[in-house]
Structures are given as C-alpha cells and as structure tokens.
C-alpha cells in the first residue's frame, strides 16, 4: 500500500522544500520507491533543491492536461535509482491544478511508488489545498517562531476539514506530525527561542523530529543535493531519524546531536 504524505506549513521559507527533498531521499536510501511532487505551480524550486533543474522536459501540469505521459515527466534521480521527481510548471498558474487531474496522477503514481511526497506551496490557496487533499499523512514544518506556529495551527485545521479524508464518511483523519526546523539550542538556552515543548503544547500534535539550524542546509541547496545525500551533518542525521520515525521505527529524540531523552520523551511518550 502506498502512502501519500504532504509536506506543508502555511508560512513560507520554513523549509518545506528542503524537508521534501531530504525526506524523499531518506526514504529512497532505505530502499523505498519514492516520488516527490512539486505543487508550487509557477514557482518551481524542488528541481533546484534536488539538482535536476537542467533535465526538466515535461511537468506535472503537462501530465494533468494530457500533453505528456507521466513516465515522460518523471525525472529519475541519478544518485538513487528508486527516487523520482515530478517537477511542476514554471509558466502556468495554480488554476491548472484540477482535483480530478491531481487524483489521476496520484493514482498512477501509486502503481509504482511506495511513498508519494507532496511538496506544498506556502499559503493556503489552491496549490496548498491540492497538495494536502489526497494525503494520508502530513508533515507540518514549523520554526519555533510566532508566525510559523500560528500558520501551522491554521494548516492543521485545514488538514482536519478540507481534505478527502476529512470529507469521506468513516475515513481515518490525516495523521499529522510536526517537524521543527531551524531549531537553535543556544538561543533557547538564552530564553530567546520557544522550546520544542512550548511549540508542541500549543499545536498538540505528535513530533516527527527536530532539525537543528545548520550550515549544511544552505550548502546542500547550493549544490543541488538533498541534505541526507550530502556530507554528514547534524541536520542530515536529524532528517534520517525523522525518516525512521515516519516508517514506524522508534528513534529517540535528539536535540542538535545531543541526546536529551528525559524531557521530551517523558512528556510526550514518543520513545516508549
């Protein structure tokens, strides 16, 4: 059974595309057939983060509109042969995303892939709603910062109301988890940044992982390499841990490479 996972946040610039690239590469590294789709129509960027921007021929919208077959639009990753990217259009707008079109493409992808990662655009407009509509699970990317947490709360509300699972009678609701990115322990220690516990207390959803603020993230995007495929770093291992939890493994929560099991696991029972 394949799983559709949306990576969303409401707020822009919190790390959705970085996370989509890292999670999909991490899943593929573990042997799962994975595809990552860019839903940000008109502002294509996943291709750059994945490093395949020079190879885009056809896109998601071409497939929806019947101008190209899915296999012509899928870009196979050169580093991992079970990873593929479905780029979006750089020239169209979000109205080109029809619900029927998105559903048809997702259904076809389910035949080949174990995991379908939907990289949502920022905002809560059509592109973001289409990215989450057919999801089975959601990764809500949040920075420990007021506007990001507020927007995450809004998005969590939409996940529970404006999606297929929310509308379908008797369906399990979307399983939503928070991924905290740009976590800076030094600033938390100084009382400048909200703690993980603060954020979780407000959002009241389970925690998928904590990604530390790390120079490795900018480096990876400069190079067009998902952070988990680049040189080892605290951010890469935090993403690897998040991927392990995503596939159901019990992995202790770490903060910036440092183990702090007592606090978080006791409070939220995540590593029982």
């Amino acid at each position: 059974m394949s799983k559709i996972i949306v990576v969303t946040s409401g707020k822009g610039g919190v790390g959705k595309t970085t996370t989509s690239a890292a999670i999909s590469a991490g899943l593929a590294k573990r042997g799962h057939k994975t595809v990552v789709i860019d839903f940000d129509v008109g502002l294509r960027n996943l291709d750059m983060i994945m490093g395949c921007e020079r190879r885009v021929v056809f896109d998601f919208i071409n497939v929806i509109q019947g101008d190209a077959k899915l296999k012509q639009a899928l870009i196979r990753d050169k580093r991992l042969d079970n990873l593929a990217v479905l780029p979006t259009s750089q020239t169209r707008d979000k109205d080109a995303l029809t619900q029927e079109g998105v559903e048809a493409v997702l259904n076809e992808l389910k035949e080949e892939f174990d995991y379908i990662i939907c990289d949502s655009p920022a905002g809560i407009e059509r592109g973001a709603l289409m990215a989450m509509y057919y999801a089975d699970e959601a990764i809500v990317v949040t920075n420990p910062e007021v506007s990001s947490v507020r927007d995450s709360d809004r998005v969590l509300g939409l996940l529970q109301s404006k999606t297929h699972r929310a509308e379908e009678e008797g369906a399990e609701p979307i399983k939503a988890q928070v991924l905290i990115t740009r976590h800076d322990q030094a600033r938390i220690d100084k009382g400048e940044m909200m703690t993980v516990e603060d954020v979780l207390e407000i959002l009241a959803v389970p925690l998928l992982g904590i990604i530390p603020e790390s120079p490795a993230v900018l480096r990876a995007s400069n190079m067009g390499v998902p952070v988990v495929l680049d040189d080892p770093s605290a951010a890469a291992s935090a993403y690897e841990d998040a991927v392990a939890r995503l596939v159901g493994e019990q992995v202790e929560m770490k903060i910036g490479g440092e183990r702090r099991p007592g606090l978080i696991s006791r409070l939220f029972g995540l590593t029982a």
Binding site: M48, R54, R55, V57, F58, N62, K71, Q90, M223, G224
Partner: protein, 85 residues
C-alpha cells in the same frame, strides 16, 4: 597579474550555486520555454506516423540544459515488424 592566477578559486558551494542559477536563468529568460515541447512532440509524432505505425506513448524526449549548449534527445520506439508492412 600573478597575484590573481596564483590562487585558483576553489569551486565552493556558493560558486556552484551561482553557476547553476546563471545557467538556469539564461535558459528561462531566453524564452526558450519548455512550453513548446508538447507541441514539438506532437509534430514529431505526426511526421513519423506518415511513414510508419507508432504508438502515441512511444516517444521519449530528454533534455539536458548546458552552458551555451543544450541537448535534446528523442527516442522513438516502434515494433520490429514495421518494415515488412
């Protein structure tokens, strides 16, 4: 003069980022948009279909955008018994 050449610049991450952007944006700004590709694909298929029977899905177009030069690779598959027909 020597002052510059003695220290060859190491291709660091920032330089790689800039190079990648320059190549990509040169293509995007030139308006050689990939929007013409569906049409190109249709035209190629039509031209070939005048001479042999091929499937609508039998065409595979690959592109590699480079610095100053891009390549378009077009693969068309057709059944082996075409020539007899």
């Amino acid at each position: 003069m020597f002052g510059f050449s003695l220290k060859p610049r190491k291709p660091n991450a920032a330089q790689t980022a800039k190079d990648r952007l320059q190549i990509l944006l040169a293509h995007e700004r030139s308006g050689a948009s990939p929007d013409c590709l569906p049409e190109l694909q249709r035209d190629i298929l039509e031209a070939i279909r005048k001479h042999m029977k091929i499937d609508r899905d039998a065409i595979d177009i690959k592109m590699e955008r480079g610095e100053g030069l891009s390549s378009l690779e077009i693969n068309i598959e057709f059944p082996a018994d075409q020539r007899k027909a």
